[in-house]
């Protein structure tokens, strides 16, 4: 563990080693926290190498803990060995056809590859959801092949269509709804990532794994409106 420190008086940030494969550690720590079920703990936000714990300082004070004793307890928890991961593997359909893969040609050109090689490499990887952020249900996927690494687009789009699967730096992301964005769009999934009316609104959770499966335009349309 790298550091555990307060984020103001109602949150604490637990940061993990930079070089470790952080996802399992982060997920293990979150599971350990949930198992404790402290009533003053309001929310947990797993991110790339950290977990942010939001708490109610008034309820913490009334629970017999002080911030100092609780932080010490968090330190013990965060160095506990990982438990088995309960992560799901999601197979998400993706359509790379014209009109969906808005930046495929440009990306292939920049990387000096053919569009087909680019697609093959993007399909071959198994991605891990490092965190959900930016917008409800937007997954940051780690595991993008090194050869597909590119800086963001010089000019962000004001509207990236819902379902767009896009890459930037060493990450792949999926836009759950139409949003502004500067990532390179390779294709689009017809699967709805976020729906407030579902029991579990976000299809993906931090720690889950994702693999893409290629579909054509006709199959995409048969999924119905995203």
């Amino acid at each position: 563990m790298r550091r555990i420190g307060p984020l103001g008086d109602s949150a604490v940030l637990v940061e993990f080693e930079r070089d470790a494969a952080a996802a399992p550690t982060v997920q293990g720590f979150c599971a350990a926290l949930r198992a404790r079920g402290w009533p003053f703990m309001l929310d947990l936000v797993p991110a790339f190498r950290s977990v942010c714990i939001h708490y109610d300082p008034l309820r913490l004070d009334g629970s017999g803990w002080t911030p100092a004793t609780w932080f010490a307890e968090l330190e013990t928890l965060s160095s506990a060995p990982e438990t088995g991961s309960g992560a799901c593997l999601h197979r998400l359909p993706i359509c790379y056809e014209t009109g969906f893969g808005l930046d495929l040609d440009a990306v292939a050109q920049q990387l000096g590859a053919t569009v087909e090689t680019l697609i093959e490499q993007h399909l071959a990887a198994v991605y891990t959801v490092a965190m959900i952020g930016f917008a409800p249900g937007f997954p940051y996927l780690e595991g993008l092949p090194g050869r597909l690494r590119l800086p963001r687009r010089a000019t962000p789009r004001s509207r990236v269509p819902a379902g767009s699967v896009a890459i930037a730096e060493d990450l792949c992301g999926i836009y759950p709804v139409q949003l502004p964005g500067g990532w390179h769009v390779l294709g689009r999934t017809p699967v709805r990532l976020f729906d407030v009316h579902r029991h579990s609104p976000s299809l993906l959770q931090a720690g889950d794994r994702v693999q893409f499966e290629r579909i054509d335009g006709r199959q995409f349309e048969s999924f119905g409106p995203c």
Partner: protein, 332 residues
């Protein structure tokens, strides 16, 4: 029911927020001035967290289809009913058919209109408030506009004497002669600097930068909204490596590369990558909620223990107010 005749600058249904879904990228949101919401709810005999209308700056106009017990809290504003000024920080019985009209805010930024029974909207992820950016929750997932109809929850028969007073009064509303003292941190001038705890990347500012942070005056810019206050003052520079995105919270003071700090409010994104140079104490939330473009702010360092102590003290004062309100309610 409440009928919206005019939506005003920005009015939305807000409650105590939806905590517990930030791992899915869902912002906690909710009423920015949580103290104003709580006291307003207490004034009409509601539980702390019931949904109310948060009005920003000016312009909301609503009519009541039934007699209703309401309370106005938060910023100080011109609110009238049949050309008479409606008092803040006390329970007010409004006669069916009356129209409540909100003019310009005089001091502060956000007014809360609490109604006995609360504003009832479908619960989405544990909350009834409006997520304006992601367009869900609250009333149709958006700001209120003319033509909207809001449902009020069941109204227990509280304040019967006040209600009886309304029946005798020719006016469109009736209110008792008392009020809760408008919420202020006792003995503190309004321009007192905001208490700021050290943030994880504060050391990146260097000694001089830190001195500037604690001495400079920052102006609240017009781009500010429910998501964040945009500040401009002395340009600060932080020496730092690129931060991987991590969870953020209300009151986080971020420093983007242009050197102009961003202070996060209730509709903040769940994670952020800019260096966090400070976090305001929880007890400052009310003041942050009531800042508007053109206001200026300063920061003063505050420790963890002091921040906790101040919050506890304020909570004790609030509990006293709640007890007194309950007693007065019984006497009408």
């Amino acid at each position: 029911m409440l009928k919206v005749l005019r939506g005003g600058q920005l009015s939305s249904v807000q409650d105590a927020g939806r905590m517990g879904f930030q791992a899915l990228g869902v912002t906690p949101g909710g009423a920015l001035d949580t103290v104003a919401l709580r006291v307003g709810n207490w004034l009409v005999g509601n539980a702390d967290h019931l949904a109310a209308i948060e009005m920003t700056w000016a312009g909301l106009q609503v009519s009541f289809t039934e007699d209703a017990l309401i309370a106005l809290t938060g910023a100080l504003a011109e609110v009238s009913c049949e050309a008479l000024s409606v008092p803040f920080w006390r329970p007010v019985w409004i006669r069916r058919g009356s129209v409540l009209q909100m003019g310009q805010v005089i001091e502060g930024a956000r007014v809360y209109l609490c109604v006995q029974g609360g504003i009832v909207t479908p619960t989405v992820m544990g909350g009834q408030g409006t997520d304006l950016r992601n367009r869900f929750g609250g009333h149709a997932g958006r700001a209120l506009k003319a033509g909207d109809t809001l449902v009020v929850g069941p109204q227990p028969n509280r304040y019967p004497r006040l209600h009886a007073g309304l029946q005798c009064s020719p006016a469109g509303f009736a209110s008792p002669p008392w009020q809760v003292s408008m919420w202020r941190d006792s003995g503190m001038p309004a321009d007192r600097p905001l208490r700021l705890l050290a943030g994880p990347q504060q050391s990146g500012l260097g000694r001089q930068g830190l001195e500037s942070l604690h001495s400079a005056q920052f102006l609240v810019l017009p781009q500010s909204d429910r998501q964040a206050l945009r500040l401009q003052g002395v340009a600060l520079k932080a020496r730092y490596d690129r931060q991987p995105s991590a969870g953020v919270c209300f009151g986080v003071l971020q420093l983007p590369p242009d050197g102009h700090p961003i202070l996060l409010l209730g509709d903040h994104q769940t994670t952020g990558g800019y260096p966090v140079i400070g976090v305001t104490a929880s007890v400052e939330r009310t003041r942050l909620a009531q800042l508007k473009p053109g206001d200026s702010v300063r920061f003063v360092p505050c420790g963890q223990d002091e921040a906790h102590r101040l919050l506890q003290e304020r909570e004790r004062r609030l509990m006293t107010i709640r007890r007194e309100l309950a007693q007065r309610a019984e006497c009408g």
